[in-house]
Amino acid sequence: MTLAMQPRERAVPGSGPATAGSARTAAPQTPAVPEVRMPRHLLSAADLDRATAEHILSTAQRIEQAMAGREVRKLPTLRGRTVVNLFFEDSTRTRISFELAAKRLSADVINFSAKGSSVSKGESLKDTAWTLQAMGADAVVCRHSSSGAPQQLSAWVDGHVINAGDGTHEHPTQALLDAYTLRRHLGSLDGRRIVVVGDVLHSRVARSNVLLLSTLGAEVTLVAPPTLLPVGVTNWPAVVSYDLDSALVGADAVMMLRVQRERMSGAFFPTEREYSRSYGLDSRRRDLIAEHGVVLHPGPMNRGMEITPQVADGAGSVIVEQVANGVTVRMAVLYLLLSGESDSAAGTAADSVADSAGGLA
């Protein structure tokens, strides 16, 4: 194990100028090998520097290799550890992906859905957190409709919190699986041009991808109608365009975001048809990207709205692969967060994956 743990301090509100993102303490490191600093919680793609993000992706790659050809697709790594899927918002796809990831690592998985539980009866997030704390959850995978809820939760539990999508804020494991998928097809993301199209304003996928892909050296172009871009987007590490055709020319990848039909009532765009005409990905537009280029979509898709079925199912579409990679990347995240602790169980766990993976150093 070359994992160096550097628990990241959270910015403490009220303690002077906010320093989120700069709270990492400088650690001694050799210039040749950038140090991996796995955060205690994965709340934002901004929690990951380049070395750490690449370490997660290469760990995922080794897990994929270790799993390949196995009859029993299960690693003993997290045996005896408890992962709670705390979903305050419906998301079958993401929950199943995390559940499968945890189970393939032999963790005990508890699904805590807000629907029909005490949460819908007015139990506060804090009380829920204390309940999980009392039950000894080692990791809490949290999906919530309120931006920032996983970060608040992380202050109230000892376990590792993984943001599985919070409001219109972030969805960091989605960005990791997108980056993983992109790397499989494009190799290094350095200087690669990735076009992200659609409802950036309300998209946690877009926020996490802009942060992570730019950390990994890619050039991100955001394309959306001006109404679906946040006012502060100018500060993001991305280029902004309103013109999809010109942005697509020669791009290495295009990522289409789901556009919710109810946005029309907020006067964000006049009609579905007009949106689709200006910002939908059809075959003609798909042909504008580079020959080696790929098409991504975080799902679920509105076929015929932001993407035509021909493109979704056509050449260069990696949409189905994204789903498979999601499980692998989430295994890597769970493994790295939970095995970073210096107790003997974690050491054993690390060894076991190293063995399974045939020399995970």
Binding site: R10, A11, V12, P13, G14, S15, P17, A18, A20, S124, L125, K126, H144, S146, S147, G148, A149, Q151, Q152, D166, G167, T168, H169, E170, R204, R207, P230, V231, G232, V233, T234, N235, W236
Partner: protein
């Protein structure tokens, strides 16, 4: 505590304190008034049996007046009561507070405003002046019985739907016109509702990063501009609550220049804190209007120094912990303010040289009393005037401890922060409500 009301307290001789931070003077308080100032004070026969207060190094100002307080009673006595809010006010150097009407029931009838007024009188620590709701139930649909409140025992002169904007332009026009009959003022919570649907924090760089629905500055500025024009048109009086943006400063400055009878307030938190505070998603920093940017903060301080903004008002908004320790978008907006306001003003205005102590007296006592129509508050520190004043140790530094505040609630955004200036004593018509930085009889 109510037993002391009316009974003439023992005379008090404050020695060597500096009125308005200028020259050290002795002040004799007797019979509810400032009986003597300077060399006469110690030689006055009434000084013989006076209680002596050593005021060396302390500043004396007229008692502070808060035009914007939420006392939560009736309805949310778990968050604050008239009594606990009065305690916080006295400890903060206040001698009068205006209580906002967003209670349950709403203070939109003579009955409710008289109840709040009576509760304040019984507690007796500060003068509690109820603000009446502009519209029935603060729903923005039809005018409340404003004249009934004005002619009630509470003598309401300030009307506001605070928490909500009187957004209907016709209703706002009518309200401005109607209160002219009794020299009332409409205190507007300027927030265009359509532009702020679901808004959680200032719309800008930080909201974009945090993924929260933005509260754009223009939603405040557009309403202020409209209301200034309406005020011109009907010849009435407008007060702008908690002005929070640089653009609003420009709008008010332009209106004042052309003669609009508009006054404006700024809160302590908008003078000190910025939207970066939202980064940790701690709802203690959720407030309405939201914390803005550093350049807004700079513009607000300058406008307060220049007189474009007339007063500092706390918008003291206590909330029970279950309404704050929750997801940001479910949390109630608002912050405690009464016990920290003076310190924040010292930190943001006095220390940087933007306001002297005369200026502090103007923006925290004299002007709010004038806007609220109070005759016996915000008076000069002169012989014969009410002995309603505050004694301040400007050098003291203290660390804000939420548990040590008098409010029933704990939602101070300054927890753990070190602030300058401490209220040593508060006098209401000659009677000490605070002495040695503690409540008298509390």
């Amino acid at each position: 505590m109510s037993s002391s009301i009316g009974a003439d307290p023992r005379p008090v001789l404050i020695r060597g304190a500096t009125p308005y931070g200028e020259q050290p003077q002795d002040l004799l308080l007797a019979d509810g008034v400032i009986a003597a100032v300077g060399a006469d004070a110690a030689t006055d026969p009434r000084a013989a049996d006076a209680e002596i207060v050593d005021g060396t190094g302390f500043v004396v100002l007229p008692g502070l007046v808060d035009l914007h307080t939420h006392l939560r009673e009736p309805g949310r006595e778990d968050a604050e009561t008239v009594e606990t809010g009065s305690r916080a006010a006295a400890l903060g150097g206040y001698t009068a507070v205006f209580a906002m009407p967003n209670t349950d029931p709403t203070a939109d009838t003579a009955g409710v405003v008289e109840q709040v007024y009576r509760l304040g009188h019984e507690v007796g620590l500060v003068d509690v002046h109820p603000i009446g709701a502009v519209t029935v139930g603060r729903k923005g649909e039809r005018l409340a019985e404003l004249a009934a409140m004005a002619y009630s025992a509470a003598r309401v002169r300030v009307f506001s739907d605070d928490g909500d904007c009187v957004s209907d332009p016709l209703l706002m026009r009518r309200a401005l016109e109607y209160v002219k009959a009794f020299d009332g003022v409409i205190a507007q919570h300027a927030q265009e509702p359509r532009l702020t649907q679901g808004a959680q924090m200032h719309e800008g760089i930080v909201s974009a990063r945090l993924g929260m629905v933005g509260w754009p500055a223009v939603a405040e500025e557009a309403i202020i501009a409209r209301d200034c024009l309406l005020t011109d048109h009907v010849g009435s009086r407008l007060h702008v609550c908690h002005l929070s943006t640089a653009g609003s400063v420009d709008v008010v400055a332009a209106a004042k220049k052309r003669g609009t009878t508009v006054t404006a307030e700024v809160t302590p938190h908008h003078l000190l804190l910025t939207d970066e505070r939202a980064v940790g998603y701690d709802p203690v920093f959720k407030v309405n209007p939201p914390l803005r940017t550093a350049s807004d903060v700079g513009a607000l301080r300058q406008a307060l120094a220049d007189g474009v903004i007339d007063i500092v008002a706390t918008d003291h908004a206590p909330h029970a912990s279950q309404d704050k320790e929750t997801e940001w978008d479910n949390a109630s907006p608002g912050m405690l303010g009464l016990q920290t306001a003076l310190s924040v003003v010292i930190e943001t205005m006095v220390r940087p040289g933007l306001l002297d102590w005369r200026g502090v007296a103007r923006v925290m006592s004299e002007a709010p009393a004038r806007i609220g129509g109070l005759q016996d508050q915000g008076r000069p520190l002169a012989v014969g005037e009410p002995a309603t004043l505050v004694l301040i140790d400007p050098q003291a530094l203290w660390t804000v401890d939420p548990d040590a505040l008098a409010s029933l609630s704990r939602n101070t955004p300054y927890a753990g922060m070190q602030l300058p200036g401490r209220v040593v004593a508060t006098f209401l018509r000659g009677r000490a409500t605070v002495s040695a930085a503690s409540l008298v009889g509390g």
